[in-house]
């Protein structure tokens, strides 16, 4: 008996029990569409995060106070440990005396939180004390007014540049430029506002305000160390050399002996991209594996329904055997039915999954995210292959049961 006829018989068999066939398929549809959605949405989210990280510039190198284990161990700040050994002078040294020849600029910062107030309007925000070249390093422009200058940075000037959300919250339709606001009761003059920048790596950029780093350290926080620095280098391919130069310079400045470990952490942006890729990949596959459990449940459902079908169609099996069907013909017929159910469920699941993932991308774009609609052809192909496999694995027991039926007993079955 050829496969075309086997599949046709399977189709006819399934068509006679439409609602049951659909219910059986539902498990596979849900399972496959979940896997497709998770992989697609996971890839979309990964691409979003990586694009954001890349948009910060792939030629950036981060420096954090405190040493870390190896090249990828968490820096102390990630564990809540405050290290105070990274000073402004250390960082300025990086761009002096050709210590790091590839360094184009260095910026560093301290952060604090506090209430910002203009007249009766209040806003709880984050202030960043940083250098005058911060916009240059992070590659963005001030929308209105200006960023503070190097002189203002040195002179402990009380000037502030507002993120778009803060400006909107405090000033509404009023012009904020040259208005005085209070940050934690200290008065600052607004000299500029930044346009909408959105969220970059889970950090909303629009609720930040920027003040000179010296003002931040001496007036706002009362500290003399830096919590984060970034070095912009001339080209991405010089990253390794620049990292080595930075480490060498800082080690010399911190008088570290040959056997002493670094008391700072240097991370290139390319490393961050790799780490984010690996985290998001692991998360995606972990979630897809959980979704795949529903496929197992769907498969058991199929086995159950096929067992019922074998009992219901015992007489039909007896008849087919009486008319010349071999055991293998019956086995193939029931296997084909099982595979037709799972493969159809798989195809419908893929369609649903793709449509839903597309919907997610549309909604995300509407919400302002640079979300890419990513569908993995490998995932689609794999889903279809898994559907067939489920049909075969979970269909084989009922099919063998049908194939082993004695024709006379089957024909007599009531």
């Amino acid at each position: 008996m050829d496969w075309k006829s086997t599949i046709k018989i399977a189709y006819i068999g399934l068509k006679t029990k439409k609602s049951r066939t659909f219910m059986t398929m539902l498990g596979i549809i849900i399972g496959i569409s979940s896997v497709i959605i998770i992989i697609s949405v996971g890839s979309g989210a990964q691409s979003l995060i990586l694009n954001q990280v890349k948009s910060m510039g792939s030629n950036l190198i981060g420096i954090l106070p405190g040493g870390s284990e190896g090249d990828s161990g968490p820096p102390p700040s990630a564990l809540g440990i405050v290290s105070t050994n990274l000073k402004i002078a250390d960082l300025e040294a990086l761009v002096q005396n050709n210590n790091v020849p590839n360094a184009v600029a260095v910026t560093y910062e301290n952060r604090g939180v506090g209430t910002l107030q203009w007249r009766a309007n209040k806003y709880d925000g984050t202030f960043i004390g940083t250098t005058a070249n911060y916009p240059e390093v992070y590659d963005f422009a001030v929308e209105k007014g200006r960023f503070f200058s190097k002189d203002e940075e040195k002179d402990l000037a009380r000037v502030v540049v507002l993120g778009s959300e803060v400006a909107e919250a405090l000033f509404g339709s009023n012009d904020p430029i040259n208005q005085n606001i209070k940050i934690k009761k200290e008065e600052f003059r607004v000299i500029g506002t930044i346009g909408k920048r959105g969220t970059v790596v889970f950090q909303n950029q629009d609720n930040l305000v920027f003040i000179p780093v010296s003002t931040c350290q001496k007036i706002m926080l009362g500290i003399d160390y830096v919590s984060l620095a970034r070095v912009k280098i001339d080209a991405e391919e010089n990253t390794d050399r620049a990292v080595a130069d930075i480490k060498q310079t800082l080690r010399e400045r911190h008088n570290l002996g040959t056997n002493e470990p670094d008391d700072f952490t240097v991370r290139a942006q390319t490393q961050a991209i790799e780490i984010f890729s690996s985290i998001t990949n692991s998360l995606t596959y972990f979630l897809a594996a959980i979704a795949a459990i529903s496929l197992l449940v769907g498969g058991i459902g199929i086995m159950n329904i096929m067992l019922i079908a074998v009992v219901e169609r015992t007489r039909e099996v007896g008849l087919r055997k009486a008319l010349g069907a071999k055991n293998s013909n019956i086995l193939n017929q029931f296997l084909a039915e099982s595979v037709v159910v799972t493969l159809s469920g798989g195809v419908v699941g893929v369609i649903f999954g793709v449509l839903f993932s597309f919907l997610v991308s549309v909604v995300a774009r509407r919400l302002g995210y640079e979300w890419d609609f990513i569908i993995s052809y490998a995932a689609i192909f794999l889903s279809c292959a898994i559907s067939i496999l489920i049909g075969l694995v979970f269909g084989v027991y009922p099919a063998r049961k049908a194939a082993k039926l004695n024709p006379i007993e089957a024909l007599r079955y009531e």
Partner: protein, 243 residues
């Protein structure tokens, strides 16, 4: 003289139900020649259906030998038996056993699906020919559940004929039919026999059996009598009388 199509030698059949052995057939010796119309007759429980199942390769004998067309079939595998069932024999059952919600055409086509050797060259032609032989050409596209009992049994006969088998086994073919439909079925079977087809009919009714040329009586698993029917009933004449 026609060739011997079916021959059994000391054929027996036992059933083992949880250690309880039931002897259904004992030492059955019979011979049926090609082109015969034989009725195996007996009361219910006599073993006549079991005998037909063994002769139709649906069951294996417990002992003895069964020769079909000169070949010993006692040691054939399941698959070999399936091939013989498909090629050499056709079955007509009391309860028709048509596939539900399936057209007359597809029901008749069913045995051809298992004709792996492509013995029947033109399937479409063979199906039409078989349906025409039972006078249901006009109902070819109808679904099985749209047919009367008599029509269903005629479809079953067409299905038995479509592989052009050497012998047709009919197990109580008129048992579920009214007398008019029953006569029509017998008329078709007699007509097929006239054209040379070997027919083996199983029935508990003397009246039905008398449409055959020969009656083999089975009682308590043994052949009690085997004789030619002297005044054979002809279904066509009976139908004409009714008209």
């Amino acid at each position: 003289m026609e060739k011997t199509l079916i021959k059994t030698v000391h054929l027996c059949k036992d059933y083992d139900n949880d250690g309880v052995i039931t002897k259904v057939l004992h030492q059955v010796d019979l011979e049926i020649k090609a082109g015969e119309f034989v009725a195996i007759m007996g009361p219910s429980g006599s073993g006549k259906s079991t005998l037909m199942h063994i002769l139709g390769f649906l069951e294996r004998p417990s002992c003895g030998q069964y020769f079909f067309d000169g070949q010993d079939s006692s040691k054939l595998t399941d698959d070999e038996l399936a091939v013989i069932r498909n090629e050499k024999v056709g079955f007509i059952f009391q309860s028709f056993n048509l596939l539900p919600k399936t057209s007359v055409y597809d029901n008749v086509r069913l045995p051809l699906l298992y004709d792996d050797k492509k013995r029947v060259k033109d399937h479409k032609e063979a199906i039409k020919e078989a349906i025409m032989a039972v006078g249901l050409y006009h109902r070819m596209g109808n679904l099985s559940n749209q047919l009367s009992g008599g029509e269903k049994q005629r479809v079953a006969i067409a299905r038995a004929l479509v592989t052009r088998p050497e012998v047709i086994f009919a197990d109580e073919p008129t048992g579920n039919l009214d007398s008019k439909s029953g006569k029509l079925i017998m008329e078709i079977l007699q007509d097929l026999n006239e054209k040379g087809k070997t027919i083996i009919l199983v029935t508990h009714e003397k009246y039905t059996a008398e449409h055959a040329r020969r009656i083999i009586k089975v009682i308590d698993g043994s052949i009690s009598d085997d004789f030619e029917v002297k005044q054979r009933l002809l279904a066509k004449e009976e139908s004409d009388l009714i008209k």
